[in-house]
Symmetry: C2
Subunit: 187 residues, 2 copies
Protein backbone atom coordinates (compact mmCIF):
# COMPACT_ATOMS: atom_id res chain seq x y z
CA UNK A 1 0.00 0.00 0.00
CA UNK A 2 1.54 3.24 -1.16
CA UNK A 3 -0.60 5.65 0.85
CA UNK A 4 -0.49 5.43 4.64
CA UNK A 5 -3.51 4.96 6.90
CA UNK A 6 -3.07 7.93 9.16
CA UNK A 7 -4.62 10.43 6.80
CA UNK A 8 -1.28 12.22 6.59
CA UNK A 9 0.37 13.20 3.33
CA UNK A 10 3.28 10.88 2.48
CA UNK A 11 6.61 12.18 1.32
CA UNK A 12 8.18 10.73 -1.82
CA UNK A 13 10.77 9.05 0.49
CA UNK A 14 7.94 7.30 2.41
CA UNK A 15 6.44 6.07 -0.84
CA UNK A 16 9.82 4.82 -2.11
CA UNK A 17 10.48 3.01 1.20
CA UNK A 18 7.07 1.30 1.19
CA UNK A 19 7.47 0.31 -2.45
CA UNK A 20 10.91 -1.06 -1.54
CA UNK A 21 12.85 1.01 -4.04
CA UNK A 22 15.24 3.96 -3.86
CA UNK A 23 13.94 7.53 -3.94
CA UNK A 24 16.07 8.17 -7.03
CA UNK A 25 14.39 5.26 -8.85
CA UNK A 26 10.91 6.68 -8.21
CA UNK A 27 11.98 9.92 -9.85
CA UNK A 28 13.00 7.90 -12.86
CA UNK A 29 9.30 7.14 -13.42
CA UNK A 30 7.54 10.15 -11.88
CA UNK A 31 8.45 13.84 -11.85
CA UNK A 32 6.76 14.71 -8.55
CA UNK A 33 4.65 13.53 -5.62
CA UNK A 34 1.62 14.87 -7.51
CA UNK A 35 2.44 12.73 -10.54
CA UNK A 36 2.63 9.64 -8.29
CA UNK A 37 -0.77 10.42 -6.75
CA UNK A 38 -2.19 11.05 -10.23
CA UNK A 39 -0.98 7.62 -11.45
CA UNK A 40 -2.27 5.94 -8.28
CA UNK A 41 -5.71 7.55 -8.61
CA UNK A 42 -5.94 6.63 -12.30
CA UNK A 43 -5.07 3.03 -11.48
CA UNK A 44 -7.38 2.80 -8.44
CA UNK A 45 -10.41 4.20 -10.27
CA UNK A 46 -9.52 2.34 -13.47
CA UNK A 47 -9.63 -0.94 -11.50
CA UNK A 48 -12.89 0.09 -9.82
CA UNK A 49 -14.54 0.95 -13.15
CA UNK A 50 -13.30 -2.27 -14.81
CA UNK A 51 -14.64 -4.28 -11.90
CA UNK A 52 -18.10 -2.57 -12.08
CA UNK A 53 -18.19 -3.11 -15.86
CA UNK A 54 -17.26 -6.80 -15.43
CA UNK A 55 -19.99 -7.38 -12.83
CA UNK A 56 -22.57 -5.88 -15.21
CA UNK A 57 -21.25 -7.71 -18.29
CA UNK A 58 -21.49 -11.01 -16.40
CA UNK A 59 -25.05 -10.44 -15.20
CA UNK A 60 -28.22 -11.67 -16.88
CA UNK A 61 -30.56 -9.71 -14.61
CA UNK A 62 -33.35 -7.52 -16.01
CA UNK A 63 -32.44 -3.84 -16.50
CA UNK A 64 -33.90 -2.41 -13.27
CA UNK A 65 -32.09 -4.99 -11.11
CA UNK A 66 -28.90 -4.53 -13.13
CA UNK A 67 -29.04 -0.80 -12.40
CA UNK A 68 -29.19 -1.60 -8.66
CA UNK A 69 -26.23 -3.96 -9.11
CA UNK A 70 -24.20 -1.24 -10.81
CA UNK A 71 -24.78 1.21 -7.96
CA UNK A 72 -24.06 -1.49 -5.37
CA UNK A 73 -20.76 -2.37 -7.07
CA UNK A 74 -19.85 1.29 -7.35
CA UNK A 75 -20.56 2.01 -3.69
CA UNK A 76 -18.79 -1.15 -2.51
CA UNK A 77 -15.62 -0.04 -4.32
CA UNK A 78 -15.61 3.57 -3.14
CA UNK A 79 -16.14 2.52 0.49
CA UNK A 80 -13.00 0.35 0.36
CA UNK A 81 -11.03 3.03 -1.36
CA UNK A 82 -8.16 4.66 0.51
CA UNK A 83 -7.30 7.39 -2.04
CA UNK A 84 -10.56 9.33 -1.61
CA UNK A 85 -9.52 11.38 1.41
CA UNK A 86 -6.34 12.51 -0.36
CA UNK A 87 -8.46 13.77 -3.22
CA UNK A 88 -10.31 16.01 -0.79
CA UNK A 89 -7.11 17.82 0.19
CA UNK A 90 -6.96 21.28 -1.35
CA UNK A 91 -3.62 20.74 -3.11
CA UNK A 92 -5.00 17.66 -4.88
CA UNK A 93 -8.07 19.41 -6.34
CA UNK A 94 -6.86 19.09 -9.95
CA UNK A 95 -6.40 15.32 -9.61
CA UNK A 96 -9.73 15.06 -7.79
CA UNK A 97 -11.50 16.86 -10.65
CA UNK A 98 -9.82 14.62 -13.21
CA UNK A 99 -10.89 11.50 -11.30
CA UNK A 100 -14.55 12.63 -11.17
CA UNK A 101 -14.52 13.24 -14.94
CA UNK A 102 -12.87 9.85 -15.46
CA UNK A 103 -15.51 7.96 -13.42
CA UNK A 104 -18.40 9.76 -15.13
CA UNK A 105 -17.00 9.24 -18.64
CA UNK A 106 -16.20 5.56 -18.04
CA UNK A 107 -19.42 4.55 -16.25
CA UNK A 108 -21.79 6.40 -18.63
CA UNK A 109 -21.56 3.76 -21.42
CA UNK A 110 -21.98 0.92 -18.86
CA UNK A 111 -25.15 2.55 -17.52
CA UNK A 112 -26.31 3.44 -21.05
CA UNK A 113 -26.18 -0.24 -22.01
CA UNK A 114 -28.45 -1.07 -19.06
CA UNK A 115 -30.90 1.65 -20.16
CA UNK A 116 -30.86 0.25 -23.73
CA UNK A 117 -31.59 -3.19 -22.32
CA UNK A 118 -34.51 -1.63 -20.39
CA UNK A 119 -35.75 -0.04 -23.64
CA UNK A 120 -35.72 -3.48 -25.28
CA UNK A 121 -37.50 -5.00 -22.28
CA UNK A 122 -40.12 -2.22 -22.71
CA UNK A 123 -39.76 -1.11 -19.08
CA UNK A 124 -37.93 2.11 -20.12
CA UNK A 125 -38.44 4.34 -23.12
CA UNK A 126 -35.42 6.60 -23.10
CA UNK A 127 -34.29 8.37 -26.30
CA UNK A 128 -30.82 9.30 -25.02
CA UNK A 129 -29.40 6.44 -22.90
CA UNK A 130 -25.81 7.75 -22.72
CA UNK A 131 -26.70 11.41 -22.09
CA UNK A 132 -29.30 10.39 -19.55
CA UNK A 133 -26.66 8.31 -17.75
CA UNK A 134 -24.45 11.40 -17.57
CA UNK A 135 -27.26 13.35 -15.85
CA UNK A 136 -27.55 10.58 -13.21
CA UNK A 137 -23.79 10.17 -12.78
CA UNK A 138 -23.30 13.93 -12.33
CA UNK A 139 -25.35 13.57 -9.14
CA UNK A 140 -23.14 10.76 -7.84
CA UNK A 141 -19.78 12.11 -9.02
CA UNK A 142 -20.32 15.81 -8.28
CA UNK A 143 -23.37 16.67 -6.14
CA UNK A 144 -22.91 13.75 -3.71
CA UNK A 145 -19.13 14.24 -3.39
CA UNK A 146 -18.39 14.97 0.25
CA UNK A 147 -15.24 16.88 -0.72
CA UNK A 148 -17.22 19.43 -2.75
CA UNK A 149 -20.54 19.80 -0.90
CA UNK A 150 -21.43 19.44 2.72
CA UNK A 151 -25.10 18.40 2.71
CA UNK A 152 -26.92 17.45 5.90
CA UNK A 153 -28.47 13.95 6.27
CA UNK A 154 -31.89 15.45 5.60
CA UNK A 155 -30.68 17.23 2.45
CA UNK A 156 -29.07 14.05 1.12
CA UNK A 157 -32.25 12.05 1.75
CA UNK A 158 -34.36 14.58 -0.16
CA UNK A 159 -31.83 14.56 -3.01
CA UNK A 160 -32.17 10.78 -3.32
CA UNK A 161 -35.98 10.99 -3.20
CA UNK A 162 -35.87 13.64 -5.95
CA UNK A 163 -33.55 11.45 -8.02
CA UNK A 164 -36.00 8.55 -7.66
CA UNK A 165 -38.91 10.75 -8.82
CA UNK A 166 -36.81 12.01 -11.71
CA UNK A 167 -35.80 8.46 -12.78
CA UNK A 168 -39.31 7.02 -12.52
CA UNK A 169 -40.81 9.86 -14.51
CA UNK A 170 -38.25 10.39 -17.21
CA UNK A 171 -36.93 6.94 -18.10
CA UNK A 172 -39.88 6.26 -17.36
CA UNK A 173 -39.87 3.30 -14.97
CA UNK A 174 -42.44 1.52 -12.75
CA UNK A 175 -42.97 3.20 -9.35
CA UNK A 176 -40.56 1.88 -6.73
CA UNK A 177 -37.95 0.68 -9.28
CA UNK A 178 -35.25 2.88 -7.78
CA UNK A 179 -36.12 2.71 -4.09
CA UNK A 180 -32.90 0.71 -3.64
CA UNK A 181 -31.08 4.06 -3.75
CA UNK A 182 -32.45 4.85 -0.28
CA UNK A 183 -30.94 1.66 1.17
CA UNK A 184 -27.35 2.83 0.47
CA UNK A 185 -28.07 5.84 2.50
CA UNK A 186 -29.66 4.02 5.42
CA UNK A 187 -26.76 1.61 5.81
CA UNK B 1 -9.61 45.24 -13.87
CA UNK B 2 -7.34 43.15 -11.70
CA UNK B 3 -6.73 40.29 -14.11
CA UNK B 4 -4.99 41.07 -17.40
CA UNK B 5 -6.37 40.26 -20.86
CA UNK B 6 -3.51 38.27 -22.25
CA UNK B 7 -4.47 35.02 -20.56
CA UNK B 8 -1.23 35.13 -18.56
CA UNK B 9 -1.07 34.69 -14.81
CA UNK B 10 -0.52 38.03 -13.03
CA UNK B 11 2.03 38.46 -10.28
CA UNK B 12 0.98 40.05 -7.01
CA UNK B 13 3.06 43.11 -8.03
CA UNK B 14 1.01 43.42 -11.27
CA UNK B 15 -2.21 43.25 -9.27
CA UNK B 16 -0.96 45.85 -6.77
CA UNK B 17 0.11 48.20 -9.58
CA UNK B 18 -3.24 47.89 -11.39
CA UNK B 19 -5.13 48.46 -8.14
CA UNK B 20 -2.90 51.50 -7.53
CA UNK B 21 -1.58 50.36 -4.17
CA UNK B 22 1.74 49.10 -2.86
CA UNK B 23 2.57 45.40 -2.91
CA UNK B 24 3.03 45.50 0.88
CA UNK B 25 -0.49 46.86 1.32
CA UNK B 26 -2.01 44.00 -0.67
CA UNK B 27 -0.35 41.54 1.71
CA UNK B 28 -2.01 43.38 4.54
CA UNK B 29 -5.34 42.07 3.23
CA UNK B 30 -4.39 38.83 1.48
CA UNK B 31 -1.84 36.14 2.35
CA UNK B 32 -1.11 34.97 -1.20
CA UNK B 33 -1.88 35.29 -4.91
CA UNK B 34 -4.30 32.38 -4.45
CA UNK B 35 -6.18 34.21 -1.72
CA UNK B 36 -6.56 37.24 -4.01
CA UNK B 37 -7.92 35.07 -6.83
CA UNK B 38 -10.26 33.34 -4.38
CA UNK B 39 -11.67 36.70 -3.21
CA UNK B 40 -11.98 37.92 -6.79
CA UNK B 41 -13.82 34.77 -7.89
CA UNK B 42 -16.17 34.93 -4.89
CA UNK B 43 -16.96 38.57 -5.71
CA UNK B 44 -17.35 37.99 -9.46
CA UNK B 45 -19.70 35.03 -9.08
CA UNK B 46 -21.47 36.64 -6.13
CA UNK B 47 -22.30 39.64 -8.33
CA UNK B 48 -23.37 37.35 -11.17
CA UNK B 49 -25.68 35.32 -8.93
CA UNK B 50 -27.17 38.47 -7.33
CA UNK B 51 -27.80 39.89 -10.78
CA UNK B 52 -29.54 36.69 -11.98
CA UNK B 53 -31.63 36.58 -8.81
CA UNK B 54 -32.62 40.26 -9.23
CA UNK B 55 -33.69 39.72 -12.86
CA UNK B 56 -35.93 36.83 -11.78
CA UNK B 57 -37.31 38.64 -8.72
CA UNK B 58 -38.27 41.59 -10.91
CA UNK B 59 -40.02 39.49 -13.54
CA UNK B 60 -43.73 38.71 -13.72
CA UNK B 61 -43.39 36.17 -16.53
CA UNK B 62 -44.97 32.70 -16.30
CA UNK B 63 -42.69 29.95 -14.96
CA UNK B 64 -41.54 28.45 -18.26
CA UNK B 65 -40.50 31.83 -19.66
CA UNK B 66 -38.89 32.77 -16.35
CA UNK B 67 -36.78 29.62 -16.56
CA UNK B 68 -35.55 30.74 -19.99
CA UNK B 69 -34.80 34.17 -18.55
CA UNK B 70 -32.73 32.65 -15.75
CA UNK B 71 -30.60 30.64 -18.18
CA UNK B 72 -30.23 33.66 -20.48
CA UNK B 73 -29.06 35.85 -17.57
CA UNK B 74 -26.67 33.14 -16.41
CA UNK B 75 -25.14 32.67 -19.85
CA UNK B 76 -24.88 36.40 -20.48
CA UNK B 77 -22.86 36.80 -17.28
CA UNK B 78 -20.48 33.91 -17.83
CA UNK B 79 -19.73 35.02 -21.40
CA UNK B 80 -18.61 38.43 -20.10
CA UNK B 81 -16.61 36.91 -17.32
CA UNK B 82 -12.84 37.22 -17.40
CA UNK B 83 -12.02 35.00 -14.40
CA UNK B 84 -13.20 31.75 -16.03
CA UNK B 85 -10.02 30.92 -17.90
CA UNK B 86 -7.94 31.34 -14.72
CA UNK B 87 -10.19 28.80 -13.04
CA UNK B 88 -9.29 26.28 -15.73
CA UNK B 89 -5.58 26.48 -14.86
CA UNK B 90 -4.44 23.39 -12.99
CA UNK B 91 -3.10 25.26 -9.96
CA UNK B 92 -6.47 26.99 -9.45
CA UNK B 93 -8.51 23.75 -9.38
CA UNK B 94 -9.48 24.15 -5.70
CA UNK B 95 -10.87 27.66 -6.29
CA UNK B 96 -12.59 26.43 -9.47
CA UNK B 97 -14.29 23.62 -7.54
CA UNK B 98 -15.38 26.03 -4.83
CA UNK B 99 -16.84 28.41 -7.43
CA UNK B 100 -18.89 25.62 -9.08
CA UNK B 101 -20.31 24.60 -5.70
CA UNK B 102 -21.05 28.26 -4.93
CA UNK B 103 -22.98 28.81 -8.20
CA UNK B 104 -24.97 25.60 -7.79
CA UNK B 105 -25.84 26.27 -4.16
CA UNK B 106 -26.84 29.89 -4.80
CA UNK B 107 -28.85 29.38 -7.99
CA UNK B 108 -30.76 26.29 -6.76
CA UNK B 109 -33.22 28.28 -4.57
CA UNK B 110 -33.76 30.84 -7.39
CA UNK B 111 -34.64 28.04 -9.81
CA UNK B 112 -36.67 26.22 -7.13
CA UNK B 113 -38.88 29.29 -6.73
CA UNK B 114 -39.58 29.26 -10.48
CA UNK B 115 -40.51 25.56 -10.29
CA UNK B 116 -42.81 26.29 -7.33
CA UNK B 117 -44.44 29.05 -9.37
CA UNK B 118 -44.89 26.50 -12.20
CA UNK B 119 -46.51 24.09 -9.73
CA UNK B 120 -48.97 26.83 -8.73
CA UNK B 121 -49.64 27.64 -12.39
CA UNK B 122 -50.35 23.89 -12.86
CA UNK B 123 -47.85 23.60 -15.72
CA UNK B 124 -45.38 21.64 -13.52
CA UNK B 125 -46.04 19.06 -10.83
CA UNK B 126 -42.68 18.66 -9.13
CA UNK B 127 -42.45 17.28 -5.57
CA UNK B 128 -38.84 18.41 -4.95
CA UNK B 129 -38.27 21.85 -6.53
CA UNK B 130 -34.91 22.55 -4.85
CA UNK B 131 -33.42 19.07 -5.33
CA UNK B 132 -34.66 18.98 -8.90
CA UNK B 133 -32.94 22.33 -9.52
CA UNK B 134 -29.70 20.82 -8.24
CA UNK B 135 -29.96 17.98 -10.79
CA UNK B 136 -30.34 20.55 -13.61
CA UNK B 137 -27.61 22.85 -12.29
CA UNK B 138 -25.15 19.94 -11.95
CA UNK B 139 -25.35 19.66 -15.75
CA UNK B 140 -24.54 23.34 -16.24
CA UNK B 141 -21.96 23.72 -13.45
CA UNK B 142 -20.14 20.39 -13.86
CA UNK B 143 -20.95 18.41 -17.04
CA UNK B 144 -20.95 21.46 -19.34
CA UNK B 145 -17.81 22.99 -17.80
CA UNK B 146 -15.20 23.24 -20.54
CA UNK B 147 -12.40 23.07 -17.97
CA UNK B 148 -13.51 19.61 -16.77
CA UNK B 149 -14.88 17.88 -19.88
CA UNK B 150 -14.04 18.25 -23.52
CA UNK B 151 -17.24 17.27 -25.36
CA UNK B 152 -17.55 17.60 -29.12
CA UNK B 153 -20.25 19.86 -30.62
CA UNK B 154 -22.32 16.77 -31.44
CA UNK B 155 -22.01 15.42 -27.87
CA UNK B 156 -23.05 18.78 -26.39
CA UNK B 157 -26.06 18.98 -28.69
CA UNK B 158 -27.23 15.49 -27.66
CA UNK B 159 -26.71 16.38 -23.98
CA UNK B 160 -29.00 19.40 -24.38
CA UNK B 161 -31.61 17.33 -26.22
CA UNK B 162 -31.49 14.74 -23.42
CA UNK B 163 -31.86 17.50 -20.83
CA UNK B 164 -34.93 18.79 -22.68
CA UNK B 165 -36.50 15.30 -22.71
CA UNK B 166 -35.66 14.90 -19.02
CA UNK B 167 -37.21 18.28 -18.10
CA UNK B 168 -40.37 17.78 -20.17
CA UNK B 169 -40.97 14.32 -18.73
CA UNK B 170 -40.09 14.80 -15.12
CA UNK B 171 -41.26 18.28 -14.18
CA UNK B 172 -43.41 17.48 -16.29
CA UNK B 173 -43.77 20.34 -18.77
CA UNK B 174 -45.52 20.89 -22.13
CA UNK B 175 -43.48 19.64 -25.13
CA UNK B 176 -41.18 22.33 -26.48
CA UNK B 177 -41.05 24.33 -23.20
CA UNK B 178 -37.29 24.00 -22.98
CA UNK B 179 -36.29 24.21 -26.63
CA UNK B 180 -34.74 27.58 -25.80
CA UNK B 181 -31.78 25.63 -24.41
CA UNK B 182 -30.76 24.75 -27.98
CA UNK B 183 -30.58 28.43 -28.97
CA UNK B 184 -27.73 29.14 -26.52
CA UNK B 185 -25.78 26.48 -28.20
CA UNK B 186 -26.49 27.62 -31.76
CA UNK B 187 -25.39 31.19 -31.07
Amino acid sequence: MIIDNRGAACSVSDIARQAGIGKGSIYYYFKSREEILDALVTRTYGTMIDSCAAVIAGSSLPAVKKMALLFQSYYASIVNNSVDRYLHERQNAAIHQKSLAMILTALAPVEAEIIEQGNQEKVFDCSFPEEFSVIILAEFCFVFDAGIFDWTTQQMLKKLQALIEFLERSLPAPAGSFNFLLTFFES
